[in-house]
């Protein structure tokens, strides 16, 4: 989230798309209700289903799954055509005036720079135009230049007329226009709107571009950085934000530093490649905060390897594992399934063993059959969880999932009972980026241990083996700093201290005064150094555990701004800032756009209000509002994504129709697919019904079907079917229905409803159905159910490698 949960109460309009917060984020949704009550805010819901959120919405519009970009581009077009956007904001805080280089073009569904052989874009084709003399960015403050991003955007979205939106999305024109009117009512200084989304946007082959489109819309409306505004990802789990912050994805180290790639052979090369620079390399009048990259990286290495990390050995850079290709987790399973791994380094055998903690790949992964078959090729599998999850018993999965007979499976499975979240201290990082400390409520039962104890014991045993017997790359293991009071069961408070970072040697300011003595906790990432004098486990979290103590455990309820920022409640990364890009909440002179809802304001000497997202004493005009971008402004045009600088509507990998905009390029040309014999995709003539998956408020992922209190509330799997379609198929409410995709077939109780409707798409009748994903074959036999992902495809977004769980094609029939 750029803003936070509480901040939603400051919004005038709340657009919910690609999410169902009433269902999946009910506690956070209270702030939407608060905005409705106290500000008479309008809740706008655009969703394929009339959801629980829609049930309390002011405006609801149906949409075909996977077509959100068309809808959002339609909104952008509406805003630009009607002038209902915040022009002054666009001029000073976005890349609207920036001029794009001549190589950029968009034709017949393809951006320039497309390489059909690799199915990849050469992103250099989308570079900004450099001033011939200074080589710096060229801008046109009037935003009239035909190559400025605002004009290019206008041209790009020209095709997304309300009629085209109806044709693609199936949203009746009048309903679309109603949404457009309400949403663009915030395109000015007086009003603010927020957009909240969740996995309904991320889990598409064009997921990142959906969010891109939303961000573009918010920048146009002038809603980013302002209280009550923003682009707000509602994270799917209580600590998923924390796990991404702390290297939960293969291509990230902590704090979104890049995982070194094989070709970056030393630290200098790595830092040069990863530290963003301005167009001409010269210091542009922006903060370009990422220019501090070396400080973050060296401090991280210092944290990992302690005294072993020295300037001479590149702070241990060589000991970090390098990647030679894509190791996103589905790639690993693909390697496992095929028994071999082909990447830059050539062909290698597939993985032999797997440790999986707090994760249930058999339930979570797309194309379940492939996952089960992949696991059955392992020599050993270690599962750490607090329930007997489907992954631990993949070898006895029911026959229909197509795994090998259990007598043929040689995988040795070790099940380690681990604690649940209530059985351990630690912190959750929520969608609002708050690190909130929590205390264990009870001890783990029986022999169950906390995850950190299990991992510590494995680590220490491996280290002992290396000490005794040596082995390949021993430094990687032997040099790891492991200074915990109890090395076998590290205290997570100590871990949080490491994450915050400390002074390794005395830190001095410019005048030579000691500001931190060696060993003291740092106040924040601004104190980090690239000379080995500081260590820090995750730079963005720095400030969470200072000399003042564990700030994540703070529970102060003071609200000096009255806007729900609560600076003394927990710790909000970065730097306890509650609203990112909050410089954009004020105009060029530093006056808040809306004085009743100031983010920060310039008082002549300092920025006051929230923790400013800019140098606190830098006068207005000195730096751009978007300090993490070298150009210092919010991007209407994004040259850094893998699938295009503007969002463009593409059909899902399993396309329900031919793309009306460019029939030759129906689906995204750069979507990632696998090519094993299990990676099969269906066509609309065989599988005419659009299908989507989702979650229920009564259940938590694949966990809670082990809890009968909750099974009582949602006793089993069901398939939501529109009334008219059910009638055609002879399916009655409560009877059984069967859904089949190219990959599998599942059966469940039919929930016949009017909350899903037939849509007219491109002149044709298109149905969509859906089902929740919470069940599996483990747990109380009365409450087991099919694994929803048996049907989902392993096509992925080319930026995040997130599978397309939310749109695929199926066949529906009455179950015999």
């Amino acid at each position: 989230m750029t803003n936070g949960w509480v901040d939603i109460k400051n919004a005038d309009v709340i657009l919910v798309m690609g999410g169902n917060p009433a269902e999946n984020h009910p506690c956070g949704f209270k702030w939407t209700v608060e905005a409705k009550r106290t500000r008479n805010a309008k809740l706008v819901v655009v969703d394929p289903r009339f959801t629980r959120t829609a049930s309390v919405a002011d405006v609801y519009a149906p949409i075909r799954p996977g077509t959100d970009i068309a809808f959002l581009n339609g909104l952008i077009r509406y805003a630009l055509q009607t002038g209902r956007y915040h022009e002054e904001y666009v001029r000073i805080h976005t890349s609207g005036p920036y001029i794009v280089g001549d190589k950029y073009a968009f034709e017949d569904g393809l951006f320039s720079g497309f390489d059909p052989a690799q199915a990849e874009y050469d992103k250099s084709a989308w570079a900004y135009r450099a001033d011939p003399k200074t080589k710096a960015y060229q801008v046109d403050p009037t935003m009239k230049h035909p190559r400025c991003t605002l004009q290019l955007l206008k041209k790009h979205v020209e095709r997304y007329t309300p009629e085209m939106v109806e044709r693609i999305c199936g949203t009746p024109k009048d309903q679309f226009l109603k949404v457009a009117e309400v949403v663009t009512s915030t395109g000015n200084a007086q009003r603010v709107g927020t957009i909240t989304y969740a996995l309904g946007w991320t889990q598409h082959s064009v997921g990142v571009q959906m969010i891109r489109a939303a961000a573009t819309l918010q920048l146009l409306l002038g809603n980013v950085g302002r209280p009550g505004g923003g682009v707000n990802a509602m994270r799917g789990h209580s600590n998923i934000q924390g796990s991404t912050d702390l290297a939960g994805v293969f291509d990230n180290l902590t704090g979104y530093l890049a995982t070194p790639r094989g070709e970056l052979t030393d630290l200098k090369t790595y830092l040069k490649a990863e530290t963003p620079t301005t167009l001409n390399g010269a210091p542009w009048p922006t903060m370009n905060y990422w220019s501090n990259y070396p400080k973050f990286m060296v401090s991280l290495l210092k944290e990992l390897y302690g005294d072993a990390a020295t300037k001479e050995n590149d702070w241990g850079y060589q000991w970090l594992a390098k990647v030679d290709g894509n190791y996103s987790w589905l790639y690993i399973y693909d390697d496992m399934y095929r028994g071999s791994s082909q990447r830059a380094g050539g062909t290698e055998p597939g993985p032999e063993g797997l440790l999986t903690f707090g994760f249930n790949p058999v339930g979570v992964g797309p194309n379940t059959s492939k996952i089960i078959n992949a696991l059955s090729k392992l020599k050993f599998l270690v599962v750490g969880d607090n329930y007997q999850i489907e992954t631990a018993t993949f070898w006895k999965a029911p026959k229909e999932y197509g795994g090998p007979d259990s007598s043929q499976i040689k995988t040795e499975v070790f099940q380690l009972p681990c604690s649940g979240f209530a059985e351990t201290d630690g912190s959750f990082t929520n969608s609002a980026r708050w690190l909130q400390w929590k205390w264990k409520a009870l001890d783990p039962p029986g022999q169950a241990k906390t995850d950190q104890e299990v991992l510590a014991r494995i680590f220490l045993a491996v280290r002992d083996l290396y000490r005794k017997e040596g082995g390949a790359l021993p430094e990687q293991v032997l040099n790891v700093s492991w200074n915990y009071t109890d090395p076998v069961n590290p205290d997570l408070g100590e871990v949080l201290k490491e994450i915050n970072g400390k002074a390794v040697t005395d830190l001095k300011d410019k005048d030579g005064k000691v500001i931190k003595r060696a060993g003291q906790q740092l106040d924040g990432f601004s104190q980090l150094q690239d000379d080995g004098s500081t260590s820090c486990g995750c730079w963005i979290h720095s400030g969470v555990y200072t000399e003042a103590g564990n700030n994540a455990a703070r529970r102060g309820t003071q609200d000096p701004t009255g806007l729900g920022m609560h600076p003394d409640w927990a710790f909000s990364w970065p730097a306890n800032r509650r609203i990112l890009y909050n410089r954009a909440s004020a105009d060029a002179q530093g006056r808040p756009w809306d004085p009743t809802r100031p983010g920060i304001a310039w008082n002549g000497k300092l920025w006051v209000g929230d923790v400013p997202d800019i140098l606190p004493n830098s006068p207005p005009g000195q730096y751009g509002a978007f300090i993490m971008n070298p150009e210092g402004v919010g991007r209407l045009f994004t040259p850094s994504l893998n699938d295009g600088p503007f969002a463009e509507h593409y059909e899902a990998t399993e396309a329900a129709i031919e793309n009306p905009l460019h029939p030759k390029v129906t689906s995204s040309p750069v979507t990632v697919r696998f090519h094993s014999n299990k990676d099969v995709y269906g066509t609309r003539d065989q599988f005419p019904v659009v299908c989507t998956t989702y979650r229920l408020t009564e259940m938590y992922h694949y966990w809670t079907h082990h809890t009968n209190e909750l099974n009582q509330l949602q006793p089993g799997f069901f398939i939501e079917i529109p009334e008219e379609l059910a009638r055609e198929k002879g399916i009655t409410n409560g009877s059984r229905a069967r859904v089949t995709s190219a990959r599998g077939s599942i059966e469940g109780v039919a929930m016949v409803t009017r909350r899903l409707r037939q849509l007219t798409i491109d002149g044709k009748r298109v149905w969509h159905i859906g089902f929740p994903l919470h069940w599996g074959y483990e747990g109380d036999p009365k409450h087991v159910g099919p694994l929803a992902n048996f049907l989902t495809p392993s096509a992925m977004d080319p930026n995040t490698w997130t599978p397309e769980f939310k749109t695929f094609l199926v066949r529906l029939e009455k179950a015999s």
Binding site: P26, F29, K30, T697, E709
Partner: protein, 294 residues
Amino acid sequence: MTADGLEIRQSSASVWGSATELRNLKVVSKLIDTTTCIGCKACEVACQEWNDLHIVPTTQTGTYQTMPSLDANYWNLIKFREVEESGFFAWLLRKDGCMHCADPGCLKACPAPGAIVQYQNGIVDVNPEACIGCKMCETGCPFDIPRYSAKTDKMAKCTLCVDRVQVGLEPACVKACPTGCLEFGDKAELVAVAKARVEQLKQNGFTQAALYDPPGVGGTTVITVLAHGDHPEWYGLPKDPQVPVAVSLWKNVARPLAALAIAGSFFAMVAHYLSFGPKTPKEGAEKPKGDKPA
């Protein structure tokens, strides 16, 4: 359960009734705002947990609703209803549970002294000690709330967490509600809150929005904001709930009449005996054997 120390305003099948207001207890209220209820069922779980109720086995039958209707072990149930009227569609979610009527039909119908009581603060409570499991309250209730437990042979329903309220806490459902669509407080204050909300709804196009506080049962302690106040039946609420005619008729008319008939019969016989005495054979007839009534 019954709460010790709370004054009882009314008690079922009481001979004398209760005189109260020794203590200055305000009438409490729970406000349900259906327009901000998201049907998350947190209130259902909170109710189960606080009251230590058993799990009720359920099966998926094609609805989001936990079970078809309330249960002796399930006192709080969100009702999910899809309503479609000429182009307008709504998914109406309403928390169903005891309304705690000011004039409770259950209490009226109950034949067991003290099995149903109404405290001075408006809460209507079942006392399992006195309940005889006759189910008459089910007939007496215009909202179909009390449920019979075959296990205990007693009735059960929402107590408005009288044990919590008594010590100054809100009911468990209100505590758990994430959106704040449930509020708890003094009735007069909550009615004002609810009316403001109704006004807001009217301004937002719900011209028929209303507060459901039905006068037919003397008003309810649990009051409900409805966007479609002209159609309470869309929410599964009776349009004009009344204490069933039969209950009033029975208590107020039939029972006195019956008592009169019985007493009349008895006194008529006494009068007859005194007037006419026994009918015996006239002179000359033989004396009957064993003429004494046994």
